[in-house]
Each structure stands twice: as C-alpha cells, then as structure tokens.
C-alpha cells in the first residue's frame, strides 16, 4: 500500500533540510533538526529502495537501527534544551536503560517486525522529556516570546508527533492484520510526521530572541 499521504510525509522531511541549507543559520539545535530530518529522509528512501529491490522483509530488518538512532538524536536534542541537572540525569539514565532494553528485546526476538512495547516506551520517554522542558519553562521563564526560540518548535514537534502516534504505535503489533487499522495507522502516523516536519521547518526559520527579561525592563 502506497498512499499519497506517505509521499507527502517523505517530501515534508525535506522541508527542514532545505530551510537549513537556504537560511544558513547554524545554531546547535538547528544542526540537530538537520541531522534528524536528514536521517529520517535517508531512512525512508533506503527503506523504500530495499522494499522495491529486496522485498519488504529486508526493509523491516533495516528498521532495527532506525529506532535507537532516532531516539538517541532526539534525546541528545533534549539534553541540550533541558536545564535542570536532575532532569538531565533522569534523561541520561532512562535513555541508557531504553537502549539496553531495546538491544535485549531485539536480540531475543529478532523476527518481530514491529514491537509496540519498544515504540510505546520510546513515546512515553520523549513525552516525559517534553514535559520536563515545558515545566522548566513555566517555572523559570527566560524569554518573553518562547515561540521565537528554535528549540521550542523542536520540542513541540517531537511532543506532538509522539502524542499523536502513541495509540497507533501501541496497537500496531496487535492490530496490523486489520485493514481498517492499517489505514488508520498510515494516516495518523503520516499526519503526525507531516506536522512534526512543518514544526521543525518553523524552528529552522525562527530567529532566537536573545533579549531576556532583564533587557526588557
């Protein structure tokens, strides 16, 4: 099944990449957006090529590296934007545990194409990191216009992507044999992905507001 929305999703991944290359703003978080989008785009292209030339099974096995790499990139991004030491420690410990669990599950049952447990845990962790970020920004706001900060759009992008995809990830392993669910999965996942890419694109355009509260008085 190849739906138009999936093609739009693949193409939308190019949006942050192109904006990064055109605008030439090289803040650290924008580099992370760039690497993330580049990685997602390459993965989509290689998966599609593998599926065409070697079959869908090979493409699925290629996915094994996708989840940890995606997760590590997003975790690195959050480690850059989260400020509390305690939150950072939780992030590092939980990310390490997640990678360990991922390796154990993948090695013990390599034939499972999609593991809802892994994706569910990943979503919960990223949602938790996003909540840490929002909590910090609520507790100690530093910028008058938080939406002028590229990292805010990055956090919102990942937060919306994983909250929207959470339920389809949870049910995918169980309900992948149901045709209605497959459509649901594709549409919801693609919708969440497109929103994520658009928000990362907005993050690429956003110019950081360097004037803190102190300068505004």
């Amino acid at each position: 099944m190849n739906l138009v929305i999936e093609d739009i999703l693949r193409l939308s991944t190019l949006l942050p990449i192109l904006l990064f290359l055109v605008l030439k703003q090289k803040e650290k978080v924008k580099w992370v957006f760039f690497y993330f989008s580049g990685f997602v785009f390459l993965h989509a292209i290689i998966s599609a090529l593998l599926a065409i030339y070697f079959g869908k099974n090979i493409a699925f096995y290629f996915n094994i590296i996708f989840i940890p790499a995606e997760f590590l990139l997003i975790s690195y991004f959050f480690s850059q934007v989260i400020e509390y030491e305690f939150h950072k420690k939780i992030l590092i410990i939980s990310s390490s545990i997640f990678i360990l669990i991922y390796i154990i599950i993948t090695v013990s049952s390599p034939l499972i194409r999609f593991n809802s447990l892994i994706n569910g845990i990943e979503s919960i962790l990223i949602i938790t990191y996003s909540l840490f970020f929002f909590y910090e920004k609520l507790r100690y706001p530093k910028n008058l216009f938080i939406y002028s900060q590229p990292y805010f759009w990055g956090v919102s992008a990942f937060f919306l992507f994983f909250t929207t995809s959470f339920f389809v990830f949870l049910f995918r392993q169980m309900a992948w044999n149901q045709s209605v669910f497959i459509y649901q999965y594709v549409y919801i996942h693609a919708f969440a992905g497109i929103i994520r890419n658009i928000l990362l694109g907005v993050g690429m355009i956003a110019k950081p507001d360097k004037a803190g509260i102190a300068e505004l008085t």
Binding site: P141, T163, Q178
Partner: protein, 274 residues
C-alpha cells in the same frame, strides 16, 4: 466469527481515534497553555520590576527633596538670622567709629562683640542640627542616650535606652543615618502613638546588628508601614526607607503577640561594623 472480528476491529478503531484525538488535544492544549502562561508570568515579573524601579525613583526623589529642604532651611537660617546680625555688626564698626569719642567707641565695640558671639552661637546651632556633636564626638550610643534623656526631661513619656554590645562601632556616616532613622521613628511615636513608655535596645549576633524600639502606644504594622511609605505625601517614612537602602538595612514593624506593645526593629548586616 467474522462478526466478532468485525466488532473487535471497530473497538480498536474507536480506541485509536479517540485516544489519538484526545492525546493531540491535550498536547496542543499544553503547548498553548505554556505559551500564554509563560507570557503572563513574564509580564507579571516585568510589572514587579517596574514597580520596584518606580519605588526606587520615589525614594530617590524623597531623599533629594529632603536634602533640598535641609539646604533651604540652612539658607533661611543664614539669611534671616546670621545676615542681619552681621549687617548690624557692620553698622557698629563703620568708618565713622574712629571719629567718635572713646566711650562711644568702646560701647560700639562691645555691642559688636556681643552680636558676633550671638552669630557664632547661631552658626554652631545650625552646624549641630546637621550633625549632633555628641554623635560626632562620642558615637551613636551617647547620642541616643542624650536624645532619650532630653525626651525623658519633658516628663510626658518614660523613655529609656540600653546598648548591650556596641564595642565595634558603625562608621560615622552610618551612625548618622541610623541616628536620623531612630530620631524620625521616636518623633513619630511621640507625635502619633500616645505611648506612655518607650524603650530602645541594641543587640547583635554573628550576622546582624539590631536596634529595637518598644512602646505601648498605637503603632504601625509592617503592612501599614509599607502602605504609608508608598503614599506620595509622607516624606518621613520615605526618608527612612531611603536611608535604609543606603545602609543596606531592613526595618520590621510588629505588634507583640500579647497585644500590649509594638516593636520596631532596625536590622543592619554585622559586616557594617568597624
């Protein structure tokens, strides 16, 4: 079997739709809330800072006004008292004096001398009103004892003073500021509180140097003090606040838990002591 399967599919479909929609709604709601709440918090902080800045300006204005008043008073004293006295001396000691007889000359010189003495006394009084000589020569403890003694002498109130540990003194300019604050506080107590006793004590610990006034009249609480201090018409409390700011000190107005007396505590950092 097919029917059951269909029913199961429908359940999953609903759960996924509602779950996803709910999560999306929550996520968007949270992001919008963060944006608006953050702005609200920052506007509040900005407003607080502006209020603090206005308050600082008001204090500065009060200090300047007070200085200006002091200058005008000194100018008026010099102009109205010293000026005429010196003019009179000049009249006595004019050029015609040498043509006068000896008795008139001696009388004129005597009169001029008396007026000069009077002028010296007047200038001394002006100078003393700027800085009390007891404070300058003997320090805050003696100056306060002196002031309390004078108040006691009126017989209208029983006043006392006790310095428990003042072996290390404040700098002269700090002592003067503290003296002025205490003078203003005592003056307010005498004017407004209808107190029958007033007791000043000094203490210190490792971190702070305290001066505390107890009285049994009608006093102020901290809230009332802050309200009156921010009132544009009251100059005395603003002057107190201005001097506190310069000293890096704090003031606390409290009513005793027994409701029998009020206390005002002036708290200075101990490192201000020499």
């Amino acid at each position: 079997m097919n029917v059951l399967l269909k029913a199961g599919e429908t359940d999953v479909t609903y759960v996924v739709y509602f779950g996803t929609f709910g999560m999306l709604l929550l996520a968007v709601g949270l992001i919008v809330f963060v944006i608006f709440h953050q702005r609200k918090v920052i506007y509040y902080q900005l407003r607080m800072r502006n209020m603090q800045s206005d308050h600082q300006k008001m204090l500065l204005q009060a200090t300047l006004e007070s200085q200006e008043e002091e200058r005008q008073r000194i100018a008026a004293d010099l102009h109205d008292d010293a000026g005429p006295l010196l003019a009179t001396v000049r009249l006595y000691l004019n050029e015609n004096l040498v043509h006068q007889d000896m008795a008139t000359q001696l009388q004129s010189i005597h009169n001029a001398k008396q007026i000069v003495d009077e002028t010296i006394q007047l200038i001394r009084n002006i100078s003393h009103s700027l800085i009390p000589p007891t404070l300058k020569n003997f320090g805050l403890e003696s100056a306060m004892s002196d002031l309390i003694q004078k108040i006691n002498g009126t017989g209208s109130i029983h006043a006392s003073c006790r310095f428990n540990d003042y072996s290390r003194r404040l700098k002269l300019e700090q002592e003067l500021s503290v003296f002025r604050i205490l003078q203003e506080l005592i003056n307010n107590i005498l004017k407004h509180s209808r107190a029958s006793f007033l007791h000043l004590t000094q203490n210190k610990n490792e971190d702070f140097f305290y001066l505390r006034i107890h009285h049994d009249g009608t006093g102020l609480t901290q809230t009332e003090f802050e309200k009156l201090r921010d009132n544009p018409t009251g100059l005395g409390l603003k002057n107190i606040q201005g001097r506190l700011k310069i000293l890096g000190a704090s003031i606390f107005f409290e009513k005793d838990s027994t409701n029998t007396y009020y206390k005002v505590t002036l708290e200075l950092p101990a490192d201000a002591l020499m």
